[in-house]
Symmetry: C2
Subunit: 136 residues, 2 copies
DNA sequence: TATTGTTATACTCTATAACTATA
DNA sequence: TATAGTTATAGAGTATAACAATA
């Protein structure tokens, strides 16, 4: 079949992101986490007392959609909330949350290594800076 | 804020794909098309008499989800179907479909050029081969 | 037996608007 | 006046199962 689409960076970006997300998602599911859950746990670990709104801004997730996301993590006792003032609340990891986050990081780093290994050596180091130029 | 996520190729891939898809989607919407619609029109143009099933396999879209997609394009008189045998049907572009496809290609190529222009020159040519190594 | 086209459906993710309370 | 957290809801996209008809 003639298929010019893989010659288009935008299309290849779409397909590569979908394929890798499916793969990583399956591995993180063994921890009961989605990619976005792992991202949240990682950011809270690095930024103690961050608020839900600030987290949403950093991850490009709307406030309204943070609610069920954080509720799930709280229900599983992975995060806790503490009032900062009358309207804001600080997020922090529980011990279980930290353990889960570290397990997720292990899966993620192993996966990243595998991804990079698939790329021919001469292209490998260019992927991350090229990607980051597209959205940061 | 400390944010280690952009150092992860898998995460950057996700964010870059989302950002670029949003942007291209807005431009294609001026033609009444989504990215997937444009992909379908392009593939039919390059492969006359392709079937819906073959199209779905190439694009990684399930047969069941091709039904409403093709129905929309047929309702807009962009594609036509002709029976190949008792159970398969050939897809082909109408004149309007070809014109719409060419307009979409114009938008897409202009967008790809812009994307590549955002990438520092020394990384630019490596993006496509690196991406394709991740899913093809 | 495998494949094509189809229907119906469920689930996830995301977007939008609106509301209350507080800074 | 802007921001935080929340509720409710709608839409898009995708996944799954099942079916009839044909190769």
């Amino acid at each position: 079949m003639r298929d010019p689409l893989p010659q288009l960076p935008g299309y290849s970006l779409r397909r590569a992101a979908h394929a890798t997300a499916t793969e990583l998602g399956a591995r993180l599911a063994t921890l009961g986490l989605r990619q976005v859950d792992a991202s949240v746990l990682i950011l809270i670990a690095e930024n103690a007392d961050i608020t839900a709104s600030a987290l949403g801004r950093q991850l490009d997730i709307q406030r309204a959609n943070m609610v069920p996301l954080l509720k799930k993590l709280e229900d599983e006792r992975l995060i806790e909330r503490q009032p900062l003032d009358g309207k804001s609340q600080a997020l922090l990891l529980t011990a279980a949350g930290r353990a889960r986050m570290e397990a997720a990081l292990g899966i993620i780093h192993a996966f990243e290594d595998e991804l990079l290994a698939r790329i021919p050596a001469r292209h490998r180091e260019h992927l991350l800076p090229a990607l980051n130029a597209l959205w940061r």
